[in-house]
């Protein structure tokens, strides 16, 4: 009896933790381990995986010209613009929203937040119609009416336009959970801090934001940053949905997630796709590290 009590008292945290641990192991740890394991094999989803050592990684660095010429530059361009861009946009919009009254704020927050919820569905339905490449496309039609263009522009097919379009749409839909967290963070900043700051010599709203608001909401800023990094690297559906195919024309809208799908489900090279996912994992992990060092308290 005493032993049981001792066990319960001493080890009960494991019991409490077990549901989380179980789910975390099954759905996060095991897939990562198996992905890392598969990345050292050649696996075509049907036959048994064959161990090939580092060959997949060597090939990735030395032979995969599409990855080096298109996918990596696209991913970086996309991540740099949509990541920080969306992040800053989230903060600015959250700050602006924090200035208005409660009812208006709630309504506007829902409006701004909704694209990130519906993005996947809306994308094909709305954006493809808007940017359709015949003169029926709304955007083409408006431009032709305004006499800015004479012939319809192939927004969705032309390699010159596709990436720009992808980034605009990604920015449009980037006000996600991070945005809500920041809005909450801004609203939670202690008003007395602002008053104290003004006594200490803060003269305008900009200084107020820099010296008071941001330092007071570091946890939310960190959360927003991590969410935004993960989201930018791991979403790749926009280009494929817009152009209607994977790969996108001339790989112009190809980001790393599309590349993984290309190898995994079109070329049936799961081992190589796994190696790519491992690389993606490290990129995200590294970027999160940067975010941590910028915003963490310690």
């Amino acid at each position: 009896m005493k032993d049981i009590l001792k066990f319960v008292n001493g080890k009960s945290h494991w019991i409490m933790l077990s549901p989380y641990l179980l789910l975390f192991t099954v759905f996060i740890v095991l897939p990562i381990i198996s992905a890392v394991g598969l990345s050292f094999t050649q696996f075509d989803t049907i036959q048994f995986p064959r161990f090939v050592g580092m060959q997949n990684y060597i090939r990735l660095l030395t032979l995969d010209s599409v990855f080096m010429q298109h996918v990596l530059p696209n991913t970086i361009e996309y991540a740099l613009i949509v990541g920080p861009g969306g992040y800053i946009l989230s903060f600015v919009l959250a700050w602006i929203l924090a200035q208005v009254t409660k009812v208006n704020r709630t309504i506007l927050a829902i409006i701004i937040y909704s694209p990130s919820l519906t993005a996947g569905v809306i994308m094909t339905a709305v954006w493809r119609v808007i940017f359709s490449g015949d003169q029926m496309g709304y955007f083409n039609s408006v431009l032709m009416r305004m006499n800015l263009i004479a012939e319809p522009v192939q927004w969705l097919q032309s390699p010159a336009h596709l990436m720009t379009l992808i980034m605009i749409i990604a920015l449009w839909s980037s006000m996600g959970v991070g945005f809500l967290a920041m809005l909450a963070g801004i609203l939670n900043v202690n008003e007395e801090l602002y008053e104290a700051a003004y006594i200490d010599g803060v003269r305008n709203r900009f200084q107020e934001v820099i010296y008071v608001t941001i330092p007071s909401m570091k946890p939310q800023m960190l959360f927003g940053a991590v969410m935004s990094i993960v989201a930018t690297f791991s979403t790749g559906g926009i280009g494929v949905a817009l152009s209607g195919s994977n790969p996108t024309p001339l790989y112009s809208g190809q980001v790393i997630v599309n590349h993984i799908e290309d190898y995994g489900f079109i070329r049936f090279e799961m081992g190589y796709a796994a190696a790519l996912s491992v690389v993606l994992l490290f990129i995200i992990w590294g970027a999160s590290k940067v975010a941590w060092s910028l915003f963490s308290d310690s």
Partner: protein
């Protein structure tokens, strides 16, 4: 006068011996009902009767030998008959014809009638019933659409103009004396038994004096809509409604509990029920029905009791809009008292016929306006040309001075049509809002005529234009869908009321939600739990297709072979690969996309079909050998074509005529017609314009094939797309866009074709089906022809197109390979494919066309014969794409090269060379992966298949 009536009586007596069909002995209930219906149809209203011509008095106009049979005048496609009728006085007459179909398959049949006063196509109404005994319930307990059965009864029906929107008999205005009528060109062979001439009589009006209320409290007679005895079209069908307003209803399994309105909507479609009356008396009629498609506009049915429309009110009876609900409507007088009819004791029939007669004037008027709008649209385009400058102002009244009056005139006509609808429906016809929008557009344009040339999108071009809105609306209005749950005959004062309480509804919803996880709701689901004694077949097709397959197999295959087959609907083809990885794959799969067999076979997951001795002979007999090329891996063939696509030229006859353009035979012809099309803001459609991003190989490769190029070198070690022939093809494929201005992006050829913005283009089977069945406004205005090609040196035109569509495969880890092959061989045999195609069309309607790859079966299918000829000839120009481990790279390299040339302005040679390099590198890498190349040396030979090689295999096998 006296002598005439004597003559009539005499004729009646005479014909009674010759022309009244002999009733066969009734064996079961349905048969009794059918004989009863047959007899009551041939009853003649003595007041109207004028004259009957028996088939023995028919004269054969063409071939005498085959025409007369013991019990009717046999009329086939090539024969013709004539007969004389003696008309006693000038007046209006109807003709009634009694006939039997001499064919085991009918679908919307007709024949032509000609007399001194004119000629028209008359509908030959069919007589179908349901094979109820046969597999009415599937293995999950769900009721499935029963197989329609063609009855052998003699059908008596009025001669009716097929083109008319009204179901009423044609009215012949005949003068006194002898008239000769000719009958010819029936669409299927028919045996004509008699023709009766009837005087046109007005229908009596209902008056309450003739039916005193008799309250004797007998139970109402309930007829379930789904329990019809006879229907004029095979695909009028019962369906399941999950609504809680419907009888009968069950949550756990799917019952067929209503007659489906979406299958019963065209003028002349008729359904007949029978019922027994125990207590003779006056009965009122009420209907439990749903009409959910025409908001604010009632649909029309003609209701006949015992073959006769008893009162005026029963003709063109209106069923108002109900939304999704099922509601009860009682036939009643203005004061609300039910109208009653006298019914004797015994068996009776009631029939309902769809009719668009009340709307026919409106529809004809609107159609005329649409034609005129399109004409004026072309007139304006002739003035302005292909000018897209929105800032230019046109003085259009100088070219067409009366344009404003014409526009206003049309707007007036449209508004008066709207008012007419309003009068008929007595509510706001909400669905007719299109009419108001169209007339507003026209008035707006009439006020600012100088804007018309830049606002053609409001007049006749595009989906929001007045012309398109009107034609969409006329199509809607000509359809009369009505779902019937039950028909109730009651002798009480008021109809019995069934009300559904709110809690009943909620409870029904909860119950059906819970039940959706069990039993019948999980029918045909893919499952890992596979009984040993069943052959598992996954099918990548919708449930209707699979249900019918299951039924045909259970009846036609299992009894003779002893092999039980279980079909599952495959939700996603990726599942085939994943299930194979986990060993839970089926024995065989059908309806599989074309790329799957090769990819799986290459990795050893599929069984080589040439192992079966009779595989090659079977294919060689009924299929195109070319269709096997995509399944070829290392001398083995790992799949068989199940369906076959076709890419043919579709063109609008009316537009090409108006523009004086010939049907293009070669690509040079297409190039020549492009400037003319563009002058009228029209364009040509190429399949690759339907794909935004990657242009699939089957849209690009035909250009190379037509120019004599190959995709790969024969040894498969490199691509062959940098050859001169390939370059010629590639240049053609790009310059059509860059120089001749073929549309680069056109997501919807079907609607552009309807609106004549793309009056000509190359499209495939699915577009063909849509145009045939979902574009009634251009019916007969379009046609198909062979795909344009390249004039070869020998003088003929090379018209290669791809044809492969879906495939059947057998898995290598299956324990029942022989049974699986036995099944597939049975399934793809000629007779089964024909039977399946007919079963699908009979059950679900003519739009369920089946493009079987069995060419012998296809030539027997129900396609228009001219079209069938074109398709079969195009199939002789079928050229399939050989698969390759690096095939995906070839596909995207060609597509990328196209993008570089067409959108980035690169030169064709450079783009193609770059593509070749990319492909060749991937080919080597992939061949290494699959062990054909090791350390830069070929260790196993790879061969690109050719049809000659397959033919050789076939010969070896014989």
């Amino acid at each position: 006068m006296r002598s005439m009536s004597f003559a009539i009586a005499f004729t009646l007596l005479l014909t009674a011996f010759l022309c009244i069909p002999v009733s066969t002995s009734a064996t079961d209930d349905i048969d009794t009902d059918l004989r009863f219906i047959e007899d009551s149809m041939s009853l003649i209203n003595e007041d109207a009767f004028v004259y009957e011509v028996c088939w023995t008095d028919f004269i054969s106009e063409k071939d005498d030998s085959v025409s007369k049979q013991p019990d009717g005048f046999y009329l086939s496609k090539i024969s013709a008959a004539s007969f004389e009728v003696n008309i006693p006085e000038d007046g209006k007459y109807h003709l009634q014809i009694r006939y039997r179909f001499e064919s085991d398959w009918i679908q919307n049949e007709s024949l032509i009638i000609r007399w001194k006063g004119g000629e028209f196509v008359s509908a030959l109404s069919g007589a179908w019933t349901s094979e109820r005994e046969l597999n009415h319930v599937d293995r999950y307990g769900n009721e499935i659409t029963p197989e329609p059965g063609l009855t052998d009864i003699s059908i008596t029906s009025y001669i009716r103009d097929l083109a008319s929107l009204a179901a009423a008999p044609y009215t012949f205005e005949l003068s006194e004396g002898v008239h000769r009528f000719y009958l010819f060109e029936p669409t299927v062979p028919v045996a004509i038994e008699a023709v009766t001439v009837l005087r046109k009589l007005p229908l009596p009006s209902y008056s309450s004096e003739i039916s005193p209320p008799n309250v004797n409290g007998t139970e109402p007679i309930v007829i379930e809509g789904e329990d019809y005895i006879l229907k004029s079209d095979s695909h009028i069908r019962a369906a399941n409604s999950r609504s809680s307003y419907v009888y009968p209803r069950r949550g756990d399994v799917r019952l067929l509990n209503v007659l489906d309105g979406s299958s019963w909507k065209h003028t002349g479609q008729k359904v007949t029920w029978t019922f027994m009356v125990d207590v003779p008396g006056f009965y009122g009629l009420s209907f439990r029905y749903s009409q959910d498609s025409m908001e604010g506009i009632p649909v029309v049915r003609n209701i006949a009791i015992n073959g006769v429309i008893p009162f005026k009110h029963f003709n063109n009876f209106l069923f108002p809009y109900t939304g999704n609900r099922f509601e009860t409507l009682t036939m009643s007088e203005n004061d609300g008292r039910p109208q009653r009819i006298w019914l004797d004791r015994g068996r009776h029939i009631i029939s309902m016929e769809a009719d668009a007669a009340p709307y026919s004037d409106i529809i004809l008027n609107l159609r005329k306006i649409v034609t005129e709008l399109n004409d004026i649209g072309i007139e304006i385009r002739k003035v302005t040309g292909n000018n897209r400058d929105f800032n230019r102002t046109w003085n259009i009244t100088r070219h067409i001075p009366d344009i404003a009056e014409r526009l206003n005139g049309w707007a007036d006509d449209i508004e008066s049509s709207f008012l007419m609808l309003h009068q008929i429906s007595e509510t706001i016809p909400a669905i007719a809002v299109n009419l108001r929008m169209a007339s507003a557009s026209l008035r707006d344009l009439a006020d600012n005529p100088e804007q018309i040339p830049t606002s053609l999108s409001r007049l006749n071009a595009g989906s929001g234009s007045a012309a398109q809105m009107l034609s969409d609306f006329t199509i809607r209005l000509s359809e009369q869908p009505l779902s019937i749950d039950r028909i109730v005959l009651f002798s009480t004062d008021m109809p019995p009321v069934e009300s559904v309480s709110f809690f009943d509804k909620v409870w029904a919803v909860i119950k059906s939600f819970v039940m959706s996880f069990f039993g019948g709701s999980q029918s045909h689901a893919v499952t890992a739990n596979m009984p040993e004694d069943e052959l598992q077949v996954w099918v990548n097709r919708p449930i209707q297709f699979v249900e019918t397959m299951q039924q045909l197999t259970d009846v036609g295959f299992t009894p003779q072979s002893g092999v039980k087959v279980r079909f599952s609907v495959m939700p996603n083809e990726q599942k085939l690969i994943l299930s194979n990885a986990s060993g839970t794959n089926p024995d065989a799969a059908l309806g599989v996309s074309l790329h799957i067999p090769y990819e799986m076979a290459l990795r050893g997951a599929l069984h080589d079909l040439t192992q079966f001795e009779d595989f090659l002979p079977t294919v060689a007999r009924d299929f195109k050998l070319e269709s096997l090329i995509p399944f070829w891996v290392d001398e083995g063939i790992y799949g068989i074509a199940e369906t076959q696509d076709f890419y043919v030229l579709m063109y609008r006859k009316d537009v090409l005529d108006k523009l004086d353009l010939p049907i293009p035979q070669t690509w040079d012809d297409v190039k020549e017609m492009m400037p003319v099309l563009q002058r009228y803001s029209m364009n040509f459609f190429l399949p690759m314009a339907g794909w935004t991003g990657l242009k699939p190989l089957h849209t690009t490769a035909p250009f190379l094939f037509q120019n004599g190029a190959n995709l790969y070198a024969p040894d498969g070690l490199s691509s062959d797309i940098s050859s001169d022939e390939a370059l010629r093809g590639f240049e053609l494929m790009t310059e059509l866009f860059t120089i001749y201005g073929v549309a680069i992006d056109s997501p919807n050829f079907y609607s552009n074709f309807r609106q004549s913005m793309m009056p000509v283009g190359i499209a495939n089977f699915s577009t063909y089906v849509m145009l045939t069945h979902a574009a009634p406004e251009i019916a007969r205005l379009w046609d198909i022809a062979l795909s344009p090609g390249i004039q070869s040196d020998e003088g003929d035109i090379v018209r290669y197109q791809v044809a492969a569509d879906r495939a059947g495969i057998i898995f290598s880890n299956s324990q029942k390979k022989d049974e699986a092959w036995q099944f597939i061989r049975w399934w793809l045999s000629r007779s089964v494919q024909v039977r399946y195609s007919q079963a699908m069309q009979a059950r679900f309607g003519p739009e369920y066309m089946w493009n079987t790859a069995n060419v012998a079966a296809f030539s027997e299918l129900d396609f228009p014969s001219e079209h069938k000829e074109v398709i079969l000839e195009q199939w002789s120009w079928a050229r399939e794409i050989p698969r390759h481990p690096a095939g995906y790279m070839l596909e995207r390299a060609i597509s990328n090269a196209w993008t570089e040339v067409v959108l980035n302005g690169e030169s064709a040679r450079i783009a193609l060379d770059r593509a070749t390099m990319t492909v060749n590198r991937e080919i080597i890498r992939k061949l290494e992966e699959f062990g054909y190349i090791s350390n830069g040396r070929v260790v196993r030979e790879y061969r690109i298949p050719s049809v000659e090689e397959i033919r050789k295999l076939v010969l070896q096998n014989q």
